[in-house]
Protein backbone atom coordinates (compact mmCIF):
# COMPACT_ATOMS: atom_id res chain seq x y z
CA UNK A 1 0.00 0.00 0.00
CA UNK A 2 0.93 3.65 -0.26
CA UNK A 3 2.17 3.83 3.30
CA UNK A 4 4.88 1.17 2.91
CA UNK A 5 7.58 0.58 0.31
CA UNK A 6 6.21 -2.32 -1.71
CA UNK A 7 3.74 -1.94 -4.56
CA UNK A 8 0.37 -3.66 -3.91
CA UNK A 9 0.28 -7.19 -5.33
CA UNK A 10 -1.82 -7.75 -8.44
CA UNK A 11 -4.56 -10.34 -8.60
CA UNK A 12 -2.97 -12.05 -11.61
CA UNK A 13 0.64 -12.71 -12.57
CA UNK A 14 2.04 -11.81 -15.99
CA UNK A 15 1.91 -15.50 -16.97
CA UNK A 16 -1.76 -15.70 -16.06
CA UNK A 17 -2.52 -12.52 -18.00
CA UNK A 18 -0.59 -13.78 -21.03
CA UNK A 19 -2.70 -16.93 -20.99
CA UNK A 20 -6.00 -15.08 -20.58
CA UNK A 21 -5.63 -12.02 -22.84
CA UNK A 22 -4.73 -12.39 -26.53
CA UNK A 23 -1.59 -10.41 -27.31
CA UNK A 24 -0.78 -9.54 -23.70
CA UNK A 25 2.68 -8.01 -23.54
CA UNK A 26 3.51 -8.09 -27.29
CA UNK A 27 4.40 -4.39 -27.04
CA UNK A 28 6.08 -4.70 -23.67
CA UNK A 29 9.39 -3.64 -25.16
CA UNK A 30 9.23 0.13 -25.89
CA UNK A 31 11.20 -0.54 -29.09
CA UNK A 32 8.05 -2.18 -30.49
CA UNK A 33 5.94 0.91 -29.83
CA UNK A 34 5.72 3.08 -32.96
CA UNK A 35 5.60 6.42 -31.14
CA UNK A 36 8.56 5.72 -28.87
CA UNK A 37 10.58 7.89 -28.87
CA UNK A 38 8.09 10.64 -29.57
CA UNK A 39 10.38 12.42 -32.03
CA UNK A 40 12.40 10.39 -34.50
CA UNK A 41 14.22 12.47 -37.11
CA UNK A 42 13.86 10.84 -40.53
CA UNK A 43 12.89 13.17 -43.40
CA UNK A 44 12.47 10.17 -45.73
CA UNK A 45 9.98 8.33 -43.49
CA UNK A 46 6.83 10.03 -44.81
CA UNK A 47 7.37 9.50 -48.54
CA UNK A 48 7.44 13.23 -49.30
CA UNK A 49 9.49 13.97 -52.44
CA UNK A 50 9.89 17.72 -51.81
CA UNK A 51 11.79 19.88 -49.33
CA UNK A 52 9.04 22.47 -49.31
CA UNK A 53 5.72 21.73 -51.00
CA UNK A 54 4.64 23.49 -54.16
CA UNK A 55 2.20 26.27 -53.31
CA UNK A 56 -1.54 25.85 -53.85
CA UNK A 57 -2.95 28.83 -55.82
CA UNK A 58 -4.73 31.40 -53.64
CA UNK A 59 -7.79 32.29 -55.73
CA UNK A 60 -9.23 34.63 -53.12
CA UNK A 61 -7.62 36.20 -50.04
CA UNK A 62 -7.31 33.48 -47.41
CA UNK A 63 -7.46 34.40 -43.73
CA UNK A 64 -4.57 33.12 -41.65
CA UNK A 65 -3.21 33.14 -38.13
CA UNK A 66 -0.86 36.07 -37.52
CA UNK A 67 1.45 33.56 -35.82
CA UNK A 68 2.26 32.13 -39.27
CA UNK A 69 5.05 33.70 -41.31
CA UNK A 70 3.05 33.26 -44.51
CA UNK A 71 0.04 31.46 -45.92
CA UNK A 72 0.72 27.74 -45.63
CA UNK A 73 1.49 26.08 -48.99
CA UNK A 74 -1.66 23.96 -48.76
CA UNK A 75 -4.96 24.96 -47.19
CA UNK A 76 -8.64 24.11 -47.12
CA UNK A 77 -10.99 26.01 -49.40
CA UNK A 78 -14.33 25.06 -47.85
CA UNK A 79 -16.76 27.87 -46.99
CA UNK A 80 -14.86 31.13 -47.48
CA UNK A 81 -15.99 33.88 -45.07
CA UNK A 82 -19.12 35.74 -46.18
CA UNK A 83 -21.64 38.24 -44.84
CA UNK A 84 -21.44 39.82 -41.41
CA UNK A 85 -20.04 36.61 -39.91
CA UNK A 86 -17.30 36.69 -42.56
CA UNK A 87 -16.32 40.24 -41.58
CA UNK A 88 -16.17 39.14 -37.94
CA UNK A 89 -14.01 36.13 -38.82
CA UNK A 90 -11.55 38.24 -40.79
CA UNK A 91 -11.37 40.69 -37.88
CA UNK A 92 -10.76 37.83 -35.41
CA UNK A 93 -7.61 36.87 -37.33
CA UNK A 94 -6.06 40.22 -36.30
CA UNK A 95 -5.61 38.62 -32.90
CA UNK A 96 -3.20 35.76 -32.26
CA UNK A 97 -4.29 32.33 -31.05
CA UNK A 98 -2.97 33.35 -27.65
CA UNK A 99 -5.68 36.00 -27.24
CA UNK A 100 -9.15 35.08 -25.99
CA UNK A 101 -10.57 37.77 -28.28
CA UNK A 102 -9.59 35.66 -31.30
CA UNK A 103 -11.61 32.66 -30.18
CA UNK A 104 -14.53 34.54 -28.66
CA UNK A 105 -15.10 36.57 -31.84
CA UNK A 106 -14.97 33.35 -33.87
CA UNK A 107 -17.50 31.68 -31.56
CA UNK A 108 -19.89 34.64 -31.90
CA UNK A 109 -19.31 34.67 -35.67
CA UNK A 110 -20.34 31.00 -35.76
CA UNK A 111 -23.71 31.90 -34.22
CA UNK A 112 -24.16 34.89 -36.55
CA UNK A 113 -23.32 32.59 -39.49
CA UNK A 114 -26.08 30.16 -38.44
CA UNK A 115 -28.55 33.05 -38.18
CA UNK A 116 -27.53 34.47 -41.56
CA UNK A 117 -27.89 31.06 -43.15
CA UNK A 118 -31.39 30.66 -41.70
CA UNK A 119 -32.40 34.10 -43.03
CA UNK A 120 -30.94 33.28 -46.46
CA UNK A 121 -32.91 30.01 -46.57
CA UNK A 122 -36.14 31.83 -45.72
CA UNK A 123 -35.60 34.47 -48.41
CA UNK A 124 -34.73 31.79 -50.98
CA UNK A 125 -37.78 29.66 -50.16
CA UNK A 126 -40.08 32.74 -50.17
CA UNK A 127 -38.76 33.72 -53.61
CA UNK A 128 -39.24 30.23 -55.02
CA UNK A 129 -42.85 30.26 -53.77
Amino acid sequence: MAYTAEKPRLAETSEQLRARIPGWGVDLDPKDRPSVPRERFDPTMSGAHWDFPERQPEHEPRERSNEHKFLTPVFGTACPPRGVSGMMRRYAYNYSEARSAHWLILMVADRVDALESRLRSRVTSARSR
Binding site: L10, L17, R38, P43, P53, L71, T72, V74, G76
Partner: protein, 382 residues
Protein backbone atom coordinates in the same frame (compact mmCIF):
# COMPACT_ATOMS: atom_id res chain seq x y z
CA UNK B 1 -22.47 14.85 -55.09
CA UNK B 2 -24.34 14.18 -51.84
CA UNK B 3 -22.67 15.37 -48.65
CA UNK B 4 -23.42 15.97 -44.99
CA UNK B 5 -23.64 19.71 -44.37
CA UNK B 6 -23.49 21.60 -41.06
CA UNK B 7 -26.25 24.21 -40.66
CA UNK B 8 -25.61 25.36 -37.08
CA UNK B 9 -25.49 23.72 -33.63
CA UNK B 10 -27.50 20.47 -33.58
CA UNK B 11 -28.52 21.02 -37.23
CA UNK B 12 -27.12 19.00 -40.08
CA UNK B 13 -28.59 17.72 -43.33
CA UNK B 14 -27.56 16.07 -46.56
CA UNK B 15 -27.25 18.41 -49.53
CA UNK B 16 -26.07 18.42 -53.10
CA UNK B 17 -22.55 19.94 -53.33
CA UNK B 18 -20.07 20.49 -56.15
CA UNK B 19 -17.49 17.76 -56.66
CA UNK B 20 -14.20 18.77 -55.01
CA UNK B 21 -11.56 19.86 -57.56
CA UNK B 22 -7.84 19.13 -57.59
CA UNK B 23 -6.37 22.26 -55.94
CA UNK B 24 -2.72 21.23 -55.69
CA UNK B 25 -0.56 18.93 -57.86
CA UNK B 26 -0.28 16.38 -55.04
CA UNK B 27 -4.02 16.20 -54.36
CA UNK B 28 -6.20 13.17 -54.96
CA UNK B 29 -9.96 13.01 -55.13
CA UNK B 30 -11.27 9.97 -53.28
CA UNK B 31 -14.71 8.40 -53.72
CA UNK B 32 -15.73 7.57 -50.17
CA UNK B 33 -16.91 4.00 -49.63
CA UNK B 34 -17.17 4.02 -45.84
CA UNK B 35 -16.96 6.73 -43.19
CA UNK B 36 -17.60 7.02 -39.48
CA UNK B 37 -18.88 9.54 -36.98
CA UNK B 38 -16.25 10.19 -34.31
CA UNK B 39 -17.03 11.26 -30.75
CA UNK B 40 -15.10 14.44 -31.49
CA UNK B 41 -17.49 15.19 -34.40
CA UNK B 42 -20.09 15.68 -31.69
CA UNK B 43 -18.11 18.67 -30.37
CA UNK B 44 -18.56 20.26 -33.81
CA UNK B 45 -22.21 19.21 -33.96
CA UNK B 46 -22.80 20.82 -30.55
CA UNK B 47 -21.17 24.08 -31.67
CA UNK B 48 -18.17 23.83 -29.35
CA UNK B 49 -15.32 24.32 -31.84
CA UNK B 50 -14.58 27.92 -32.89
CA UNK B 51 -14.73 28.73 -36.63
CA UNK B 52 -17.10 25.93 -37.58
CA UNK B 53 -18.80 27.42 -40.62
CA UNK B 54 -22.25 26.74 -42.00
CA UNK B 55 -21.83 24.64 -45.13
CA UNK B 56 -18.88 22.60 -43.85
CA UNK B 57 -18.88 18.82 -44.37
CA UNK B 58 -17.60 16.90 -41.34
CA UNK B 59 -15.86 13.53 -41.31
CA UNK B 60 -12.23 12.69 -40.56
CA UNK B 61 -12.61 8.90 -40.51
CA UNK B 62 -13.07 7.51 -44.01
CA UNK B 63 -11.79 5.10 -46.63
CA UNK B 64 -12.47 5.03 -50.34
CA UNK B 65 -11.30 4.53 -53.89
CA UNK B 66 -9.01 6.96 -55.71
CA UNK B 67 -11.01 8.74 -58.41
CA UNK B 68 -8.49 11.29 -59.74
CA UNK B 69 -4.90 12.24 -58.91
CA UNK B 70 -2.97 15.48 -59.37
CA UNK B 71 0.01 15.85 -61.72
CA UNK B 72 2.72 15.20 -59.12
CA UNK B 73 1.20 12.13 -57.44
CA UNK B 74 3.52 9.11 -57.76
CA UNK B 75 2.30 6.56 -55.23
CA UNK B 76 -1.41 6.27 -56.02
CA UNK B 77 -3.47 5.73 -59.13
CA UNK B 78 -7.13 5.77 -60.06
CA UNK B 79 -8.92 2.75 -58.65
CA UNK B 80 -6.67 2.19 -55.63
CA UNK B 81 -8.56 1.28 -52.44
CA UNK B 82 -7.17 3.57 -49.78
CA UNK B 83 -7.45 4.42 -46.10
CA UNK B 84 -6.81 8.05 -45.18
CA UNK B 85 -5.45 9.11 -41.77
CA UNK B 86 -7.44 11.90 -40.13
CA UNK B 87 -4.35 14.14 -40.18
CA UNK B 88 -3.70 16.28 -43.24
CA UNK B 89 0.11 16.53 -43.35
CA UNK B 90 2.90 17.50 -45.75
CA UNK B 91 5.55 14.98 -44.69
CA UNK B 92 8.40 17.49 -44.99
CA UNK B 93 8.12 20.27 -42.39
CA UNK B 94 10.12 20.39 -39.14
CA UNK B 95 7.44 18.40 -37.33
CA UNK B 96 6.64 15.82 -40.02
CA UNK B 97 10.37 15.12 -40.42
CA UNK B 98 10.30 14.01 -36.77
CA UNK B 99 7.19 11.86 -37.12
CA UNK B 100 4.83 14.41 -35.56
CA UNK B 101 2.37 14.27 -38.46
CA UNK B 102 -0.48 15.60 -36.36
CA UNK B 103 1.52 18.78 -35.77
CA UNK B 104 2.26 19.57 -39.43
CA UNK B 105 3.06 23.25 -39.99
CA UNK B 106 2.31 23.42 -43.72
CA UNK B 107 -1.39 22.62 -43.95
CA UNK B 108 -3.30 24.81 -41.52
CA UNK B 109 -3.17 28.57 -42.15
CA UNK B 110 -5.83 29.24 -39.52
CA UNK B 111 -3.85 28.08 -36.49
CA UNK B 112 -0.31 27.16 -35.54
CA UNK B 113 -1.31 25.19 -32.44
CA UNK B 114 -2.98 22.39 -34.37
CA UNK B 115 -2.25 20.64 -37.66
CA UNK B 116 -4.75 19.90 -40.40
CA UNK B 117 -7.76 17.64 -39.87
CA UNK B 118 -10.37 16.69 -42.45
CA UNK B 119 -13.82 18.13 -41.79
CA UNK B 120 -12.91 19.61 -38.44
CA UNK B 121 -13.63 23.36 -38.73
CA UNK B 122 -11.42 26.13 -40.05
CA UNK B 123 -9.49 26.01 -36.79
CA UNK B 124 -8.08 22.78 -38.23
CA UNK B 125 -7.47 24.14 -41.72
CA UNK B 126 -10.86 24.50 -43.42
CA UNK B 127 -10.89 21.15 -45.23
CA UNK B 128 -14.16 19.43 -46.07
CA UNK B 129 -14.45 15.94 -44.64
CA UNK B 130 -15.39 12.46 -45.75
CA UNK B 131 -19.04 12.21 -44.69
CA UNK B 132 -19.83 12.68 -48.36
CA UNK B 133 -19.52 10.86 -51.65
CA UNK B 134 -16.20 12.47 -52.62
CA UNK B 135 -13.43 14.24 -50.75
CA UNK B 136 -10.25 16.13 -51.60
CA UNK B 137 -7.17 14.45 -50.09
CA UNK B 138 -4.09 16.73 -50.06
CA UNK B 139 -0.58 15.23 -50.13
CA UNK B 140 -1.76 11.99 -51.65
CA UNK B 141 1.80 10.63 -51.75
CA UNK B 142 2.15 11.04 -47.99
CA UNK B 143 -1.15 10.46 -46.17
CA UNK B 144 -3.23 7.66 -47.73
CA UNK B 145 -2.17 4.03 -47.78
CA UNK B 146 -3.46 1.24 -49.99
CA UNK B 147 -5.63 -1.08 -47.88
CA UNK B 148 -4.12 -4.58 -47.72
CA UNK B 149 -6.25 -7.21 -49.49
CA UNK B 150 -6.71 -9.19 -46.28
CA UNK B 151 -8.14 -6.25 -44.33
CA UNK B 152 -11.86 -5.62 -44.28
CA UNK B 153 -13.36 -2.18 -44.74
CA UNK B 154 -14.71 -1.78 -41.21
CA UNK B 155 -11.34 -2.54 -39.65
CA UNK B 156 -9.68 -0.16 -42.11
CA UNK B 157 -12.00 2.78 -41.36
CA UNK B 158 -11.42 2.37 -37.62
CA UNK B 159 -7.67 2.53 -38.21
CA UNK B 160 -8.01 6.07 -39.62
CA UNK B 161 -8.56 7.47 -36.13
CA UNK B 162 -10.26 5.61 -33.25
CA UNK B 163 -8.00 2.56 -33.00
CA UNK B 164 -4.81 4.48 -33.77
CA UNK B 165 -5.71 7.14 -31.20
CA UNK B 166 -6.53 4.63 -28.45
CA UNK B 167 -3.29 2.73 -29.12
CA UNK B 168 -1.33 6.00 -29.15
CA UNK B 169 -2.97 7.02 -25.86
CA UNK B 170 -1.74 3.81 -24.21
CA UNK B 171 1.78 4.46 -25.56
CA UNK B 172 1.80 7.95 -24.07
CA UNK B 173 1.17 6.31 -20.70
CA UNK B 174 4.65 4.76 -20.87
CA UNK B 175 3.19 1.56 -19.42
CA UNK B 176 5.61 -0.92 -17.87
CA UNK B 177 4.91 -4.53 -16.92
CA UNK B 178 2.37 -4.80 -14.11
CA UNK B 179 1.15 -1.18 -14.21
CA UNK B 180 -2.36 -0.35 -13.05
CA UNK B 181 -4.01 1.62 -15.85
CA UNK B 182 -7.29 3.48 -15.47
CA UNK B 183 -9.12 4.67 -18.57
CA UNK B 184 -11.79 7.35 -18.25
CA UNK B 185 -14.43 6.87 -20.95
CA UNK B 186 -15.71 3.67 -22.54
CA UNK B 187 -16.32 5.14 -25.97
CA UNK B 188 -14.39 3.84 -29.00
CA UNK B 189 -11.07 5.50 -28.07
CA UNK B 190 -11.35 4.42 -24.43
CA UNK B 191 -12.12 0.83 -25.42
CA UNK B 192 -9.13 0.73 -27.78
CA UNK B 193 -6.86 2.37 -25.19
CA UNK B 194 -7.89 -0.24 -22.59
CA UNK B 195 -7.29 -3.08 -25.03
CA UNK B 196 -3.93 -1.61 -26.05
CA UNK B 197 -2.82 -1.24 -22.41
CA UNK B 198 -2.79 -5.06 -22.15
CA UNK B 199 -0.58 -5.30 -25.26
CA UNK B 200 1.93 -3.09 -23.46
CA UNK B 201 1.96 -5.31 -20.40
CA UNK B 202 -0.49 -3.68 -17.98
CA UNK B 203 -1.20 -5.75 -14.88
CA UNK B 204 -4.67 -4.36 -14.30
CA UNK B 205 -6.94 -2.27 -16.58
CA UNK B 206 -9.85 -0.32 -15.12
CA UNK B 207 -12.45 1.54 -17.19
CA UNK B 208 -14.71 4.27 -15.77
CA UNK B 209 -17.92 5.50 -17.42
CA UNK B 210 -21.58 5.89 -16.48
CA UNK B 211 -23.24 4.12 -19.39
CA UNK B 212 -23.88 0.52 -18.47
CA UNK B 213 -23.91 -0.82 -22.02
CA UNK B 214 -20.49 0.71 -22.67
CA UNK B 215 -19.09 -0.67 -19.44
CA UNK B 216 -20.39 -4.09 -20.48
CA UNK B 217 -18.50 -3.69 -23.75
CA UNK B 218 -15.35 -2.70 -21.86
CA UNK B 219 -15.59 -5.99 -19.95
CA UNK B 220 -16.20 -8.22 -22.96
CA UNK B 221 -14.13 -6.44 -25.62
CA UNK B 222 -11.28 -5.02 -23.52
CA UNK B 223 -11.23 -7.53 -20.62
CA UNK B 224 -11.40 -4.56 -18.26
CA UNK B 225 -12.57 -4.16 -14.70
CA UNK B 226 -15.29 -1.49 -14.81
CA UNK B 227 -16.92 1.07 -12.52
CA UNK B 228 -19.93 3.32 -13.04
CA UNK B 229 -18.93 6.72 -11.61
CA UNK B 230 -22.57 7.67 -11.05
CA UNK B 231 -22.85 4.87 -8.49
CA UNK B 232 -20.23 6.46 -6.23
CA UNK B 233 -20.33 9.65 -4.25
CA UNK B 234 -16.74 10.36 -5.28
CA UNK B 235 -15.10 8.18 -7.94
CA UNK B 236 -11.61 9.44 -7.00
CA UNK B 237 -11.97 8.15 -3.45
CA UNK B 238 -13.21 4.84 -4.84
CA UNK B 239 -10.19 4.65 -7.13
CA UNK B 240 -7.92 5.15 -4.14
CA UNK B 241 -9.73 2.43 -2.19
CA UNK B 242 -9.42 -0.16 -4.96
CA UNK B 243 -5.70 0.57 -5.45
CA UNK B 244 -4.77 0.24 -1.77
CA UNK B 245 -4.73 4.06 -1.53
CA UNK B 246 -1.81 4.33 -3.93
CA UNK B 247 -3.67 5.36 -7.10
CA UNK B 248 -3.22 4.04 -10.63
CA UNK B 249 0.21 4.18 -12.28
CA UNK B 250 -1.27 5.53 -15.50
CA UNK B 251 -4.53 7.36 -16.19
CA UNK B 252 -5.90 7.95 -19.67
CA UNK B 253 -8.50 10.63 -20.41
CA UNK B 254 -10.54 9.29 -23.33
CA UNK B 255 -13.51 11.58 -22.80
CA UNK B 256 -12.57 15.17 -23.57
CA UNK B 257 -14.65 18.30 -23.77
CA UNK B 258 -18.13 17.06 -22.97
CA UNK B 259 -17.46 15.05 -19.84
CA UNK B 260 -20.25 14.60 -17.34
CA UNK B 261 -19.88 14.05 -13.62
CA UNK B 262 -19.70 17.65 -12.41
CA UNK B 263 -22.74 19.91 -12.83
CA UNK B 264 -20.70 23.12 -12.72
CA UNK B 265 -18.02 21.95 -15.17
CA UNK B 266 -20.58 20.51 -17.59
CA UNK B 267 -22.69 23.68 -17.46
CA UNK B 268 -19.80 26.13 -17.95
CA UNK B 269 -17.86 23.95 -20.39
CA UNK B 270 -20.17 21.83 -22.51
CA UNK B 271 -23.34 23.94 -22.33
CA UNK B 272 -22.43 27.62 -21.89
CA UNK B 273 -19.07 27.35 -23.68
CA UNK B 274 -17.43 29.59 -21.06
CA UNK B 275 -14.38 27.31 -21.10
CA UNK B 276 -12.89 25.01 -23.73
CA UNK B 277 -14.91 22.03 -22.62
CA UNK B 278 -15.66 20.32 -19.35
CA UNK B 279 -12.41 18.80 -18.03
CA UNK B 280 -14.05 16.52 -15.46
CA UNK B 281 -12.41 13.35 -16.74
CA UNK B 282 -9.02 15.04 -16.96
CA UNK B 283 -9.32 16.27 -13.37
CA UNK B 284 -10.36 12.79 -12.23
CA UNK B 285 -7.35 11.38 -14.08
CA UNK B 286 -5.05 13.84 -12.30
CA UNK B 287 -6.53 13.02 -8.93
CA UNK B 288 -6.78 9.23 -9.45
CA UNK B 289 -3.26 8.60 -10.64
CA UNK B 290 -0.52 8.01 -8.10
CA UNK B 291 2.15 10.57 -7.26
CA UNK B 292 4.82 10.43 -9.95
CA UNK B 293 2.36 8.75 -12.31
CA UNK B 294 1.50 9.56 -15.90
CA UNK B 295 -1.67 11.08 -17.35
CA UNK B 296 -2.27 10.58 -21.05
CA UNK B 297 -4.83 12.89 -22.62
CA UNK B 298 -6.62 11.61 -25.72
CA UNK B 299 -9.87 13.51 -25.19
CA UNK B 300 -10.38 16.51 -27.48
CA UNK B 301 -10.59 19.99 -26.00
CA UNK B 302 -11.18 23.41 -27.55
CA UNK B 303 -8.41 26.00 -27.99
CA UNK B 304 -9.44 28.29 -25.12
CA UNK B 305 -8.78 27.89 -21.40
CA UNK B 306 -10.20 25.11 -19.22
CA UNK B 307 -10.50 24.76 -15.43
CA UNK B 308 -7.88 22.02 -15.07
CA UNK B 309 -6.49 21.15 -11.62
CA UNK B 310 -2.96 21.98 -12.55
CA UNK B 311 -1.83 22.53 -8.96
CA UNK B 312 -2.56 18.90 -8.12
CA UNK B 313 -0.59 17.79 -11.18
CA UNK B 314 2.39 19.88 -10.04
CA UNK B 315 2.23 18.79 -6.41
CA UNK B 316 1.94 15.12 -7.35
CA UNK B 317 4.87 15.33 -9.76
CA UNK B 318 2.82 13.97 -12.62
CA UNK B 319 3.91 13.55 -16.20
CA UNK B 320 1.19 14.86 -18.50
CA UNK B 321 1.42 13.56 -22.06
CA UNK B 322 -0.87 14.41 -24.93
CA UNK B 323 -1.15 15.05 -28.65
CA UNK B 324 -3.41 14.41 -31.57
CA UNK B 325 -2.40 10.98 -32.82
CA UNK B 326 0.07 10.83 -35.73
CA UNK B 327 -2.03 8.08 -37.27
CA UNK B 328 0.12 6.81 -40.09
CA UNK B 329 3.04 6.17 -37.76
CA UNK B 330 0.91 3.64 -35.87
CA UNK B 331 -0.26 1.68 -38.90
CA UNK B 332 2.52 -0.86 -39.59
CA UNK B 333 2.40 -2.19 -36.01
CA UNK B 334 -1.41 -2.08 -35.85
CA UNK B 335 -1.65 -3.96 -39.15
CA UNK B 336 0.43 -6.72 -37.50
CA UNK B 337 -1.80 -6.78 -34.43
CA UNK B 338 -4.95 -7.09 -36.54
CA UNK B 339 -3.42 -9.77 -38.73
CA UNK B 340 -2.30 -11.72 -35.65
CA UNK B 341 -5.80 -11.51 -34.18
CA UNK B 342 -4.81 -9.41 -31.16
CA UNK B 343 -7.11 -6.60 -32.24
CA UNK B 344 -10.41 -6.74 -34.12
CA UNK B 345 -11.56 -3.10 -34.20
CA UNK B 346 -14.83 -3.69 -36.07
CA UNK B 347 -16.19 -5.50 -32.99
CA UNK B 348 -17.19 -2.13 -31.56
CA UNK B 349 -19.33 -1.08 -34.55
CA UNK B 350 -22.98 -0.86 -33.55
CA UNK B 351 -24.64 1.09 -36.37
CA UNK B 352 -24.33 1.21 -40.15
CA UNK B 353 -26.23 4.22 -41.49
CA UNK B 354 -26.78 5.39 -45.09
CA UNK B 355 -25.38 8.87 -45.77
CA UNK B 356 -28.88 10.14 -46.51
CA UNK B 357 -29.85 9.35 -42.89
CA UNK B 358 -26.75 10.83 -41.28
CA UNK B 359 -28.80 13.33 -39.25
CA UNK B 360 -30.33 10.32 -37.47
CA UNK B 361 -26.82 8.96 -36.91
CA UNK B 362 -25.73 12.15 -35.18
CA UNK B 363 -28.91 12.24 -33.08
CA UNK B 364 -28.48 8.61 -31.99
CA UNK B 365 -24.76 8.93 -31.26
CA UNK B 366 -25.10 12.27 -29.49
CA UNK B 367 -28.00 11.02 -27.35
CA UNK B 368 -26.26 7.67 -26.62
CA UNK B 369 -29.43 6.01 -27.90
CA UNK B 370 -29.88 2.40 -29.08
CA UNK B 371 -26.71 1.34 -27.19
CA UNK B 372 -24.67 3.21 -29.77
CA UNK B 373 -20.89 2.91 -29.54
CA UNK B 374 -19.62 3.43 -33.09
CA UNK B 375 -21.78 4.46 -36.05
CA UNK B 376 -20.48 3.99 -39.58
CA UNK B 377 -21.75 5.98 -42.57
CA UNK B 378 -22.27 4.28 -45.92
CA UNK B 379 -22.31 6.83 -48.74
CA UNK B 380 -23.42 4.54 -51.54
CA UNK B 381 -26.14 2.74 -49.58
CA UNK B 382 -28.87 5.33 -50.23
Amino acid sequence: MRAMVYRGPYKIRVEEKDLPPIEHPNDAIVRVTLAAICGSDLHLYHGMVPDTRVGTTFGHEFIGVVETVGSSVQNLKTGDRVMVPFNVFCGSCFFCARGLYSNCHNVNPNATAVGGIYGYSHTCGGYDGGQSEFVRVPFADVGPTIIPDWMDDEDAVLLTDALATGYFGAQLGDIVEGDVVVVFGAGPVGLFAAKSAWLMGAGRVIVIDHLEYRLDKAQTFAHAETYDFSAYDDIVVHMKKITDHLGADVAIDAVGAEAEGSFLQHLTGAKLKMQAGSPVALNWAIDSVRKGGTVSVMGAYGPMFSAVKFGDAVNKGLTLRMNQCPVKRQWPRLFEHIRNGYLKPSEIVTHRIPLEDIADGYRIFSGKLENCIKPLIVPNAA
